[in-house]
Symmetry: C2
Subunit: 433 residues, 2 copies
C-alpha cells in the first residue's frame, strides 16, 4: 500500500498561484520549442566555452597562491573541504563592488550565497521574528522574494510602483497605513535599477528621498540589484547602498547576469550592527551566517573559485568586463522598443514602457493576458511571454505582459514582434471588451 | 546615526543555544590551532589535488557527449545557464544508489540539492504545514536537522536512542504520547547508520520493525545516510529506503563524505505520490522542486558536473571508489577505541561506546563536559572535543563528549587520547562530584 500525500496537507506555499503559474510557463516553453520566447529572464550565453571553467579556476588558484601567498595544501583544502560559512571570496567581492558601485564595505560584512535567491531567504529569515512584522514589496514584484516570504509565512503588503519605480510619497503612505493597522513595516524590498518585471528604475534624485522615508518609518531596505550594469541610455545613479549613510540598506548582489548563472553565486552586503542583551556587537552578516549554516552550510567552493577567477580576470571590475554584454542587451532592448514602435504604431489600447536598461519591457493590451491567452499565443502564433499577473500579489496586471529580450537574437526579436502583432490582432477580434 | 538591530528583534532561531555552541566550538578550534581536534566531523582530505577538479569536469563532459550524445552547445548551456530545478545528475545518482544501496528509484524522484542540508530544509518545509505537526527526532540528534526545524518554527519531540540506535517500542510510545497530546507526529528523522553524534546503528533485524511502527503511526520517515559506507566491522544491513515497500521513507544522501564537501552536492529521494484536489498526481520530488526554486533555484551546475564526473569515474559505484577511505576511517576508529581501552582501562566512571563504523565515539565522564570544561581542555591540555549537550534538545548529554577521528592522523589520535587522559585526570581532581 503506497503512502499518498494529499497536496493540501503539504505546506501552503506549494499552493502559491505564482508557483503554479511559473510551472505552467516553463511547461509552455517546453511544449512549444519552436516558439520565440520572450518569457525567461536569462542572460545571453555569449562566448562561453567549457574550457573557460578550468581557466577561471586556474586564475583563482594562481591569485590565492601568488598574490595572497596561500600554500598549495591550504588552497586544496579550501576547494575540497568544508569552509568558512560566509564564503571565501568575500574580499574579492568587496573590491569589486567598490570599483563598480562605489560601495565601501568591510569584507566581514559580505555573505557569499548560493545565488541571490539564498540571500533573500537568509535576510528575510533573520529580520522577520514576529507575526506583526510586515514586508513591504515594490509592486509588481519579482516572484523570488514573494516566494521566500510565503515559505516563511511572512505577510507582504504591496507598494505600487509608478512609471519611475517606487515613489517616496507612496512608500510613506503605505508604511503609515501598515503601522496604523497595528502591524510593523519591518523592511522594504525593491530593485531600484531596471526592475524585474517592469524594467523601471528609480531616478537618482529620488533615491535619497526613499532613504529618508525609510529612516522616518524605521524601515530596513533590501536592495536587490541583478541588472544595474545593463544600461541602455543615460547615466547610472548611485545605488541605495552607496548612498546609505546610516547602514539601513541590505544589498543583495548576483553574479548570474554579470558572470554566469550556472555557478549559483550571489552575495549579501549586511553591515548592520547587531547588539545582544549584554551589549555585545556583531554584524548582521554574522547572524546571516548562522542561518546559512542551516540552509546550505557553505556556497560551493568550486563555484566560488570559478567566480573568484572571473573577478580576478576582470581586475575586480565587472562593469568593464561586461562591456560587450552591456552593448548586446542595450541593442536588444533598443531593437525590441523600435519593433514595438514600428509594428504597433498609434494602435489604440496598446502601450508599453521604455526602460533605460535591463532585460524587460511591459506591454499593456486591451484583453486578458492570462494563461489561456498565453496558451493561444504559443500554440497558434508561436510566441511566448509572461503574464504580468504573476508578479502581482494583489490581483493586478491582468492586461499586461512582460517581454524579455536578453537571450534572443535580433532575428528572433523581429520575428517575435511580428508574431506578437498577429496574436494581439487575433485576441482583439476574438474578445469583445 | 547608524541603524542598530537588537538581537532579540531578529528571528528566534538565532538564539538557538546549539548555534552559539557551534560558534563557540569553531572559535575554540581557531583559538587553539596547536590542539588535537576530535571536534569536527569532516572527512579526511586524502589525495585530493586541485587538478582533479578539471579531471572530473572532463569526465562528466565526455560522458554527456559520448555516452549520452549531448551536443557541445547543450553541454555548455547546462554548465553555464540556469537549468532543471531538481538537477542534471539525477540519472547518475539513481544508478549509483542502485549499485551501492540496492535502492531502486525513478530518476524523476531524485532532487539534487546544495548538500544534504538543503535537502533537510526542502523536506521539512514541504511536509510541515500545520502548527500541530510534530517532528520526531532520534535523540541525541544532528544539529543540522534541529537547526532547520527551528528556522521553520517546527515543533520537535525527541525519541531517545538506545545503545543500538532508535528502538521500535520507544518510537511507538513517543508517537502515541504525541498523538494523545492532540498533536500529529508527522515524520521521524533518524540516521540509521553510524549516527552523528553517537555512532550507533540500527541493527538490520530492527529496521523492518521501525518501518512497521511508522506505518501503524502514519509517520513518514526521513532517513539521512551520510556515513553508511564507512563500516569498521560486520556486514551492512539494507537501508530503510531499500526496505521501503510503501514509499514511506524520504532518503537524504550526501556526497560530502564519499566524494568531497567543497562541491556542496547532496540529494533527496522522494518518490511519494502527491495528489491534489482534482486527483492529479505528482511526486513529492516535484513539490520539493517548487520549494527549491525559492531557496537556491538550482544546485551549482559546475559542482554537479564535478560530482557527476566522480560518479562516472567510479562506474557509479561509490562503495568501491571509497575502498581506501573506508579502510582509513575503520583504522582510525579502531585505533581510537584501542587507545581509549589502553589509557582508560578499568577506570571507574569512564565509559564509551564501540560503533561498528562511522566517524564518532561517545565518551561518558564523571564530570560536566560543558563549554567551560572544553575551554580548559583546549587551553591547558591541547585537546578539543564536542560537548554532547549540543546534540540534545532536552538538556541531556551533560556528562558526555563526542570524539571524531575521521580527519586525524594515527599520531594525532594517539597524542590526543594521552592529552584527553590528562584533561580527565585534572577534571576529576578539580571537581568534587
Amino acid at each position: 500500500m503506497s503512502t499518498r500525500l494529499p497536496l493540501n496537507e503539504l505546506h501552503r506555499s506549494l499552493a502559491d498561484p505564482a508557483l503554479s503559474a511559473m510551472t505552467f510557463l516553463n511547461e509552455a516553453v517546453e511544449r512549444f520549442p519552436g516558439a520565440v520566447s520572450f518569457a525567461p529572464g536569462r542572460p545571453a550565453e555569449g562566448e562561453f566555452r567549457t574550457a573557460d571553467i578550468t581557466r577561471y579556476l586556474s586564475a583563482y588558484v594562481s591569485y590565492r597562491a601568488e598574490v595572497e601567498g596561500a600554500s598549495e595544501a591550504r588552497i586544496t583544502a579550501e576547494l575540497f573541504q568544508y569552509g568558512r560559512t560566509n564564503g571565501q571570496i568575500h574580499g574579492l567581492i568587496a573590491r569589486t563592488v567598490a570599483n563598480d558601485e562605489d560601495i565601501v564595505i568591510d569584507p566581514e560584512a559580505v555573505v557569499v550565497t548560493v545565488g541571490a535567491q539564498e540571500g533573500m531567504l537568509l535576510v528575510l529569515r533573520a529580520l522577520f521574528a514576529d507575526a506583526a512584522d510586515v514586508l513591504l514589496v515594490a509592486s509588481p514584484c519579482y516572484v523570488g522574494i514573494t516566494g521566500v516570504a510565503r515559505l516563511l509565512g511572512i505577510e507582504m503588503v504591496p507598494v505600487p510602483e509608478g512609471p519611475n519605480g517606487l515613489e517616496p510619497a507612496v512608500l510613506r503612505q503605505v508604511s503609515a497605513q501598515v503601522r496604523a493597522s497595528g502591524k510593523r513595516p519591518r523592511a522594504l524590498y525593491l530593485v531600484p535599477d531596471f526592475a524585474n518585471p517592469t524594467g523601471s528604475s528609480v531616478p537618482g534624485a529620488t533615491r535619497r528621498q526613499l532613504l529618508d522615508v525609510a529612516a522616518a518609518a524605521d524601515l530596513l531596505v533590501i536592495e536587490d540589484n541583478p541588472y544595474g550594469l545593463f544600461r541602455r541610455v543615460g547615466e547610472s545613479p548611485l545605488t541605495l547602498k552607496a548612498l546609505d549613510a546610516d547602514r539601513r540598506v541590505i544589498y543583495i548582489g548576483s553574479f548570474a547576469k554579470t558572470c554566469m548563472p550556472g555557478a549559483r553565486v550571489g552575495y549579501v552586503l549586511a553591515d548592520q550592527p547587531v547588539t545582544d542583551a549584554l551589549g555585545r556587537r556583531t554584524l548582521l552578516a554574522g547572524e546571516l551566517s548562522k542561518i546559512k549554516s542551516m540552509v546550505t552550510v557553505n556556497t560551493s567552493a568550486v563555484s566560488q573559485a570559478v567566480i573568484g577567477g572571473m573577478l580576478v580576470d576582470s581586475g575586480f571590475r565587472l562593469r568593464e568586463a561586461n562591456t560587450d554584454a552591456v552593448k548586446l542587451y542595450a541593442q536588444n532592448l533598443q531593437l525590441l522598443l523600435d519593433e514595438l514602435s514600428d509594428r504597433f504604431a498609434d494602435r489604440a489600447g496598446i502601450s508599453w514602457n521604455r526602460p533605460d536598461g535591463g532585460f524587460f519591457v511591459v506591454v499593456t493590451v486591451p484583453f486578458l493576458a492570462d494563461d489561456a491567452a498565453l496558451e493561444r499565443s504559443a500554440r497558434d502564433f508561436g510566441v511566448l511571454w509572461t503574464p504580468m499577473s504573476y508578479f502581482h500579489i494583489d490581483g493586478g496586471g491582468r492586461r499586461q505582459l512582460r517581454l524579455s529580450c536578453s537571450a534572443l537574437t535580433p532575428e528572433d526579436i523581429r520575428a517575435g514582434v511580428v508574431r506578437l502583432v498577429a496574436f494581439v490582432n487575433s485576441e482583439e477580434s476574438r474578445t469583445p471588451q
